[in-house]
């Protein structure tokens, strides 16, 4: 069968054609909203019109079969209207309040997990991992699944002092905002890469490879058309591997994950914050990474027990001090926690006043 005629530079379809009529009518004229349950909310317009939303979790990796099932549900209760959130949840947009209960009943029957609104854990931002990425040194979807199997009650029912944004990045490239999450897992290497010198000469551009190193650990070896790595300077970021694959950074037995905490995106109350190192290394233990999951649960439990209402993880830690964070969580403080990269000056303590 002949293919239809291709078009270029048309961009995405204009969003307007996908909006439910009540949204089109009240676009820019919403007055307030209310979270009714952990997974349902209503927005009320100045006109008095209402739109109800049901939010459900998604593993982000979706089969076409599941997307069609979401379409079936949307057609039954939402005149075919649905959207996805920036954290990859699916949202069913209901204009007729009477459709709420039957829609929720069907979602329950089909084992959709409804929740994720308000002071809870929403869906986890994560990267491709072993499912689809060449530079992954852990599996992102696997850790998310293992973690949320343990934490899902914080999505569906239980509440916390404020939102806790979780993220998993399968290498330090961090596709997704892992560096500003309340609690995030980031996969790290710990060994200097192994260079296949013959292949470097054949496949890599030497100046680009030298320039890719943030710590200037790579210098050219023009005689042999390859590069040399200064082992004392290498921080195992893997950027050289990205530009020059024969510099192999993978080391399955010594690769693993670090856990960072206290990041925040919104400007509410306090400025946005980077996540900071809590645990420098844990081994990859597929399929369920039990120690990683326990460590995250511990941090959440300590946060829940100690933070004030509305305090995010980072705000709580800054109020009590990082020395208290390590005491309360029982986490070990190591050489790796003291910054010796570009931001050292900003992170060392410059006051004689602190806690024990």
């Amino acid at each position: 069968m002949a293919l239809p005629e291709r078009q270029t530079d048309v961009g995405p379809p204009h969003f307007e054609q996908f909006l439910p009529p009540v949204i089109k009518k009240n676009y820019g004229k919403w007055k307030h909203h209310e979270i009714i349950t952990p997974g349902t909310m209503v927005h009320v317009a100045e006109s008095g019109d209402e739109i109800y939303t049901i939010r459900a979790a998604s593993p982000r990796i979706l089969s076409t079969e599941t997307i069609r099932d979401m379409c079936d549900i949307a057609e039954k209760y939402c005149d075919g209207h649905l959207r996805f959130t920036t954290r990859n949840n699916v949202e069913f947009l209901i204009s007729d309040k009477a459709q709420m209960d039957p829609c929720l009943a069907e979602l329950k029957e089909k084992k959709y997990m409804v929740g994720g609104m308000g002071p809870r854990i929403s869906n986890v931002i994560h990267t491709q991992g072993w499912v689809h990425c060449h530079s992954a040194c852990t599996d992102a979807s696997g850790i998310v699944k293992a973690m949320m199997d343990e934490l899902h009650e914080y999505f569906t029912t239980k509440s916390l002092p404020n939102k806790v944004r979780l993220a998993v990045a399968c290498c330090v490239n961090m596709c997704g905002a892992v560096h500003v999450s309340d609690i995030a897992v980031v996969a790290v290497h710990r060994k200097v890469p192994v260079i296949d010198n013959a292949m470097v000469g054949k496949t890599c551009e030497i100046p680009t490879t030298v320039g890719s190193c943030p710590t200037s650990a790579i210098r050219p070896n023009p005689k042999d058309r390859t590069v040399v790595i200064n082992e004392d300077k290498c921080m195992y970021c893997g950027n050289c591997f990205t530009v020059c694959p024969p510099i192999d950074i993978h080391n399955p037995e010594e690769d693993g994950v670090a856990i960072v905490v206290g990041g925040k995106i919104g400007s509410l109350r306090t400025s946005p914050k980077f996540s900071k190192l809590a645990i420098p290394f844990m081994y990859n233990e597929p399929p369920r990474w039990p120690k990683v999951v326990d460590a995250i649960k511990n941090i959440i439990d300590v946060y829940a027990a100690n933070a004030k209402k509305h305090e995010r993880v980072g705000e709580w830690i800054e109020r009590v001090g990082w020395e208290d964070f390590f005491k309360l969580t029982g986490l070990e403080f190591t050489y790796q926690h003291i910054d010796d990269f570009t931001f050292m000056r900003d992170t060392l303590r410059t006051s004689a006043a602190f806690k024990y």
Binding site: D9, M148, C175
Partner: protein, 397 residues
């Protein structure tokens, strides 16, 4: 039971949270190429067993006339997993705000089942609707099918990346700017820059309607457009009373947590000293019925955020404290964006992001290039050491 034994992945079908393994397995039911999901399962199981990935670096693949939007992906074990010898990513540019109709999604699924693995990401980190796993020979067919129906490719490589945004005015009372309108406009305006990589490196634009920043613009966009306002927060005192009557401790939850301590409340009138307000959104987000942003709307423009590679992660810096975004085709904002990109494109080395270039050159050359004066809103504090540059234009004053 499929072609490969997958005991570790099967373990991840247990438990309450929806399972990505189940999704990959389901893709075998509908795709015209079930061997793709089948061998994907086999290879991922092998990764779980051996703790390493088996994907080669991307190769150069794409559609005619474009330099991006498709990411080449090949298994490094094509003999063992022939179904994923080619397993390319096809990025579809999402509609702003991620709104769909079931009709549109069904069309996307039908074409994907015909020409690909049936596995998707809804959505990818940047915002595209990501289709995972197709062959080089199917790319032109996919592009013809989707583009003829009005669905273009997203960006990749050293190019503008697909802009993305929060839900904005479509369903949020806090949207100070038309985030979806701006996002769609920018996407259309920069079509050439999106499809034909000609930049030093990637360039990301993200648009959030308020300082809650639901699309994380401040953390992962070279250009972060965040809605804000001038003037007084609108207060409904009767609704304030309802919150108090409903059990909210307004003193500890709102007044004491205010960033600038500009609120007072004595159990009667709720007062805000708006001159002192930093518009952080805390009080408004907790008292949605009682408080609303002021009426003079615009955006704060911040620049430079990115993930750690190469020299550490960055959160965006304030460049323009306030810009109006309600003119036709967002002309002011569009011109500013073009000027910022032009300065970066003219000055950056290959693989240097905007934030990194500013670190090398300083903020002054960028401010001069775009005609924005220095303002205290751009810094947390002035410099501390008495080392600074003077240029001829400073002496002329």
């Amino acid at each position: 039971m499929g072609k490969h034994e997958t005991p570790m992945l099967d373990e991840l079908e247990k438990g309450a949270w929806p399972s990505f393994v189940t999704e990959i397995k389901k893709a075998r039911n509908t795709s015209s190429m079930p061997e793709m999901a089948e061998d994907e399962l086999g290879q991922v199981e092998k990764s779980f067993q051996t703790k390493r990935g088996y994907w080669k670096h991307g190769g150069i693949v794409g559609v005619l006339g474009y330099g991006g939007g498709v990411i080449g992906r090949y298994s490094s074990l094509p003999e063992e997993f022939p179904g994923i010898a080619h397993f390319h990513t096809y990025r579809i540019n999402q509609p702003s705000g991620f709104f769909y109709t079931s009709e549109a999604l069904r069309m996307i699924c039908d074409i994907w089942d015909k020409y690909g693995s049936g596995i998707t990401n809804v959505h990818g980190s940047t915002g595209d609707l990501v289709l995972l796993g197709t062959t080089t020979e199917n790319l032109e067919a996919l592009f013809a099918e989707y583009s003829s129906r009005g669905w273009d490719l997203g960006g990749s490589g050293s190019a503008m990346r697909t802009p993305s945004c929060c839900v904005g005015m479509a369903r949020c009372e806090w949207a100070n700017i038309d985030a979806m309108g701006i996002c769609n406009h920018m996407t259309q305006h920069f079509q050439d820059e999106l499809h034909r990589p000609a930049f030093p490196y990637k360039f990301k634009i993200k648009v959030s309607g308020c300082a809650c920043d639901c699309v994380a613009a401040i953390a992962r966009a070279d250009l972060s457009i965040i809605g804000t306002w001038k003037g007084n927060i609108r207060i409904d005192q009767a609704e304030v009373k309802n919150y108090a009557d409903g059990g909210m401790d307004i003193q500890s939850e709102i007044v004491d947590m205010c960033d600038t301590q500009c609120i007072s409340y004595d159990g009667g009138e709720f007062k805000i000293n708006d001159e002192q307000c930093s518009r952080c959104m805390h009080c408004i987000s907790k008292m949605t019925k009682a408080l609303r942003p002021g009426e003079e709307k615009g955006a704060t423009i911040l620049v430079g955020s990115k993930a750690p590679i190469v020299v550490g992660s960055l959160i965006s810096w304030v460049l323009v404290p306030f810009i109006k975004c309600d003119d036709e085709d967002y002309a002011l904002l569009t011109e500013l964006t073009e000027n910022i990109i032009e300065w970066w494109d003219d000055n950056a080395k290959p693989r240097e992001r905007l934030g990194e270039l500013i670190e090398v050159k300083g903020m002054r050359p960028l401010l001069e290039a775009i005609g924005v004066p220095p303002q205290p809103q751009q810094v947390k504090e002035p410099r501390k050491d008495p080392f600074f540059f003077w240029s001829e234009s400073d002496f002329a004053k």
